[in-house]
């Protein structure tokens, strides 16, 4: 079993300021979602509401069709892992892992296995851990929670590249073995793009786009070929790279048949748009109609 997420007309205010404004969102159960947004866009606020870390100012948040707020059978199966984890820093790593057993589904054996694999020092106090190891501890607790809905909010910050790679692989392996709902909130977009099934972009407290990854990739294209031939297409480039006589541009519009033919005739190859480039374009504050 895994949890679907429903937000209906959700607004969250911090004082007079809207962190989220009238958000409606429906995420099906059993998928891996990417939650993208610029700093301060409202990603963490949204996740905080889904995990009942906060209560919305107005609107309702349903998890698995039930209100999440103060609902023990639901919140015990929802895990939001924030950057650095929510730990008592005076405790040891071992004690932190053991305290996970508050959740009926927590798998302590798996947690200790992961701790060994990621070389977590069990006897060390959390306060003595490096930022990277602290992130690993948070990730380990999130994975071992065996929750029906697991959300990682920038949890990989501080991890080095090999550790991040190992974390993503473990996350995927766990997902394949036990399908559940996963939400990854991250700024390292290209790094996680291959794992995502759907993407939600939050911008200025609103849901800007929600679509599956293929739909996002179809929103634009990457064209690579001789610089002259690429320029001759006359497309508005979001991003461009040049190496010698070869040029690569990213465009944020679907290509019509005529453009595709001209591109092919000029020896220009067409590929899917990079999620990160598209994200940058979609959240550009100077862009109209975002």
């Amino acid at each position: 079993m895994s949890f679907a997420i429903t937000l209906r007309s959700v607004t969250l205010k911090y004082g007079a300021e809207d962190a989220l404004a009238d958000v409606d969102l429906e995420l099906e159960a059993g998928k891996i979602y990417g939650l993208l947004g610029r700093n301060g866009a409202g990603k963490t606020s949204l996740l905080s509401l889904v995990a009942a870390f906060r209560r919305p100012t107005t609107g309702e948040v349903l998890i698995g069709g039930e209100p999440v707020w103060e609902n023990a059978p639901v919140v015990s199966r929802v895990a939001l892992i924030r950057e650095g984890g929510d730990f008592d820093d005076t405790e040891t790593v071992k004690a932190i892992i053991e305290s996970g057993t508050i959740r009926p589904s927590f798998d302590a054996d798996y947690a200790f296995k992961l701790a060994e694999r990621f070389e977590l020092p069990l006897k060390k106090r959390v306060s003595a851990l490096s930022r990277g190891k602290r992130s690993v501890l948070a990730a380990v607790c999130g994975l071992a929670a065996r929750a029906e809905l697991t959300m990682f909010d920038e949890v990989h910050l501080g991890m080095d590249a090999p550790t991040r790679d190992a974390f993503y692989k473990e996350l995927l392996a766990e997902y394949m073995e036990r399908p559940h709902t996963i939400v990854l909130s991250t700024h390292l977009i290209d790094e996680v793009a291959n794992y995502l099934e759907e993407v939600v972009i939050v911008d200025r407290g609103r849901i800007l786009r929600h679509a599956d990854i293929e739909a996002f990739q179809g929103m634009g294209a990457t064209l690579t070929g001789p610089a002259d031939a690429v320029d001759a297409l006359g497309l508005a480039a979001l991003a461009e790279q040049r190496l010698g006589g070869t040029k690569s541009i990213t465009v944020a519009e679907p290509l019509d048949a005529a453009t595709r033919e001209r591109a092919a005739a000029g020896g220009v190859e067409i590929g899917p748009v990079g999620l990160q480039d598209l994200f940058i374009h979609l959240t550009d504050p100077n862009r109209n109609g975002a």
Binding site: F53, S76, L80, A108
Partner: protein
């Protein structure tokens, strides 16, 4: 946490309350041991120079009230983010804290009770007087029955101090800059009731218990009843502040 077995959803709030009390006692066992040793050793040293007429344990037990308030406040301040993030509801945490507070007060109260009776026997064996500094005079606590009756209030007093600390702790978490200001109304009330009950100043800023001076003539049962009412009020206030507390954002 006491055990590695996963907690059951329906009973975890009680198990956690018990776990907090046991962990707290385990964590502070050397403090308790040091207090015991000091309370019995210091009078022995002082007796080399002067007569012993004051109960040392009375001061130790009084310091225990502060300690208990810090435990209540410190635990709730730390537990709110960690427990909610671990999938506990605030209502469950409130119940756990309630169980913890009751058990902690009973445990510490039992230690205080045993200590004062033990001190009575100790002082008696050495020919010392077990008294209290009641303003201008040093008043002996009295017979064995008087001493037991005197010490029997400790669990209730520890509970009210625990709850006072808990309210200030959760308010400090919720209102980062100003929550601690709840000290201002809470301390005079709790100190004054303590002052009125024992007719002696509590350890700490005794002036804060100035209202107790007006309670000296009140019947003891009436003050006990007032302490129960204040404890209930503090428990209700802690629950109210806790039940919809938002978790703080993480600092980058």
């Amino acid at each position: 946490m006491p055990a590695l077995a996963n907690l059951g959803l329906s009973t975890r709030r009680y198990a956690l309350g018990l776990g907090f009390a046991l962990e707290g006692l385990k964590y502070f066992k050397y403090w308790v041991a040091a207090a015991l040793v000091l309370s019995f050793a210091v009078p022995l040293i002082v007796s080399q120079y002067t007569d012993i007429t004051l109960s040392a344990w009375f001061y130790t037990a009084n310091a225990g009230k502060w300690f208990t308030a810090f435990v209540g406040g410190g635990f709730v301040y730390t537990l709110v983010p960690t427990m909610v993030a671990a999938g506990l509801t605030r209502r469950e945490l409130a119940v756990s804290m309630g169980v913890f507070g009751l058990l902690w007060s009973l445990l510490l109260g039992a230690i205080a009770f045993a200590g004062i009776l033990g001190e009575r026997a100790y002082y008696g064996a050495l020919g010392w007087s077990q008294g209290l500094d009641a303003g201008d005079v040093i008043a002996p606590i009295g017979t064995l029955g008087d001493t037991a009756a005197f010490a029997a209030h400790y669990p209730l007093l520890y509970l009210v101090y625990f709850l006072a600390g808990t309210v200030i702790g959760i308010a400090s978490y919720r209102w980062e800059a100003s929550g601690w200001l709840l000290l201002v109304p809470i301390i005079p009330v709790v100190f004054s009731l303590d002052n009125g009950l024992y007719r002696t100043e509590p350890v700490g800023p005794g002036w804060a218990g100035f209202l107790g001076l007006f309670m000296d003539d009140w019947a003891r049962w009436f003050i006990v009843a007032a302490i129960v009412v204040v404890a209930a009020g503090l428990a209700a206030a802690a629950y109210r502040i806790l039940i919809d507390v938002p978790l703080r954002s993480k600092q980058a």
